[in-house]
Symmetry: C2
Subunit: 405 residues, 2 copies
């Protein structure tokens, strides 16, 4: 069972590649919008070529492009420009993340488009934002993690800075742009007018670091790297098992004593470095090393059972293969099959919310490059003869067997 999102009947045109805009538009598609992805000739979205591939298809592309249609069109050719203009006349939303200024240079600026479609919501995503000396520079997720302070804070206190190995700036920007679309649609119902919504990786990044940044702005210390730990609480973090790691968190001395018994290290209770949280924080490295020597004598499974019995808050430090097999993950039903034209069913992760107990409905699996070129252009009133000419002139492409998926 599934539930239909509220964006059914809303047409979104995506002119975007990579992660942020595809993820944001996938969210809109999950909520029911018709999302038409306009891709370039030959290769399409860059992410279609990113490793790892499964049977020749990019997993990254698969994970970011369900519930979309694919139209391949060269809008720099005159006839293609005309066709895109006609498509955009029928659109409620345009979302784009081309190089700053590139789409405007091709004739599709917000100012131009609003003249003919004043109800259009024009969403523009950049790396560094709409103003400032870097506004025209390209950027990508990891670079903005570095720029915004995330890399400097992440990783072991004794080692090098680390990256968050997820596209948190890209995906976060996708979330914010989808919120911007919902807001603009609601405003349009009130005013009849579209809007120019701008988002960027840097602005998203500043929102992510908002709390610690406000702490520094208020005169507090600059956060340092602490591995898996927390500034004011020890022990709290990942501790080694013989076959992996376990995360545990101790908020009181009572819980701490229960932990020491559970890991058969009651003697540590007499060490003054362990006396209370203040002492443990002061002796962080020593305390964590002593506890780690004790936890490493057990397997993950043994530790999890012992911490459970001792009522010490904990979690396995799961690797992704364990996540896939986890009973709780399975029970939630968020990992779902979706059909793909060449792969059969692929497993996707649905948007993480339920409505009256049901996940959002799927429209279709990730499209092959150009799978919907003809159908979409026909639906906006471009007749068969013109479509044939566009095909013959190489201005549009449809999917052909053996071509890149």
């Amino acid at each position: 069972m599934s539930v239909q999102g509220s964006l059914a009947g809303i047409r979104v045109v995506e002119i975007g590649t990579s992660v942020a805009v595809p993820f944001g538009c996938q969210i809109l598609g999950d909520f029911g919008a018709e999302v038409i992805k306009v891709e370039r000739l030959g290769t399409g979205d860059e992410a279609r070529m990113w490793a790892p591939l499964t049977e020749g298809v990019s997993v990254t592309f698969l994970s970011l492009n369900r519930n979309k249609k694919s139209v391949v069109l060269n809008y720099k050719a005159d006839e293609g420009k005309q066709a895109l203009e006609e498509l955009l006349q029928t659109a409620d939303v345009l979302v784009q993340n081309l190089r700053p200024g590139a789409l405007a240079a091709a004739g599709f600026s917000w100012e131009n488009l609003r003249e003919t479609n004043p109800r259009l919501i024009y969403v523009e995503m950049t790396g560094y934002g709409h103003a400032g000396p870097r506004r025209e520079q390209p950027a990508y997720d990891a670079m903005l993690q570095a720029y915004s302070g995330v890399v400097a804070m992440t990783g072991s206190d004794e080692g090098e800075p680390a990256r968050v190995p997820l596209s948190m700036m890209d995906m976060g920007t996708g979330l914010w742009l989808s919120l911007g679309v919902f807001d603009a649609l609601r405003r349009r119902e009130q005013t009849g007018e579209g809007a120019h919504v701008q988002v960027s990786l840097l602005q998203t990044a500043l929102a992510w670091v908002g709390t610690p940044l406000m702490g520094v702005a208020a005169g507090g210390p600059v956060p340092q790297r602490l591995g898996s730990g927390f500034r004011g609480n020890v022990p709290n973090g990942a501790f080694p098992a013989s076959d992996g790691y376990v995360f545990l968190s101790v908020g009181s001395n009572d819980a701490f004593y229960r932990l020491l018994d559970a890991i058969e290290a009651p003697h540590l209770r007499d060490d003054p470095a362990f006396e209370n949280n203040v002492a443990r924080v002061s002796n962080r490295q020593y305390v964590n090393a002593q506890l780690g020597a004790a936890t490493a004598k057990f397997t993950m499974q043994e530790l999890l059972e012992r911490l459970d019995a001792a009522q010490v808050p904990h979690s396995a430090v799961n690797t992704l293969d364990r996540v896939l097999e986890d009973e709780q993950v399975k029970a939630l039903g968020q990992l779902q099959p979706i059909p793909h034209a060449t792969l059969g069913d692929v497993t996707i992760v649905n948007s993480p919310l339920t409505i009256d107990g049901e996940y959002l409905a799927h429209q279709n699996g990730p499209p092959l490059l150009g799978a919907d070129t003809v159908d979409v252009l026909a639906s906006v009133g471009i007749d068969e003869g013109r479509i044939d000419r566009l095909l013959a002139d190489g201005v549009i492409e449809t999917h052909t067997e053996g071509a890149r998926a």
Copy 2:
């Protein structure tokens, strides 16, 4: 200048603490909703007590609770329960993250509330989700980072796993719940009926790891820790300077040769380990160490200038004090002052989008505990005599000088 969000006129009641629900409701407030935060007697939201404090006020609380009103009310007392019922009669949205089942046990289940207010949108946030063996267990951000595979993937390949030092599960859940509210409001306009929206840290976490999880589900390798690096590309990551780190990324051999010249290490060109990306990936640690020895001879500023001149994509690995002083960050205007009753203006990070070039408008700064108790209850029709009795009976509290902010 600023722009009014589209949720003006929507009343949200927040019964939540800590990060996820407060952040989600702050987003709704940024978009113009009236957000009434119902807090418990004496202490209010737990985050009001979290370190670090600035002049006795929690920075975390300040960062998550602008554009809200604070009402202090004990809904477990009969008169308080009655008052909350009257408040919820006037609400469009209720968002809560109490222990699973706790609010229902107090009489405020979705099933009860929809009987008297069928237009109510009831949003419930938990740690592990609405189903499965862990559905009643408490959880928090770092624990779900561990559970979902993020901790195992983060940190140096030679060291211990690390945490993402930001509340990405909490804040992500806040983003998803605010999307759920926009969707439910739109559906309500279509159907006249409210909805039961459920979100959780675990479901949010699965969406964050969606791409690599799909890779593993498709039979690919389980991602390993790579510090600041990337699996298929070397060099790409943080490299040491004499006074910090610089992030750089090299996508071609041409760019690699420019890098070697820029860091005065052209001799590395002749080392077979550096021959091309495939060789560099195979010799990751050696290559990174050799390059790091060269970059460490320069200051951050020198490296940034040299990489700029050589057109090698790069970024400073900024610490948060540098972020605050950064010209691009200042130019974006996203860090803004907001008034606070005891602190004067505090600097907040506005929601990361602009609409027709303007950020969302502020309604008010983070409220003192109980600052709006009387005004809000009066606004739903509770008369002065009854408010006085509620105060006298200790069922509600207003802010008093010297009390916790």
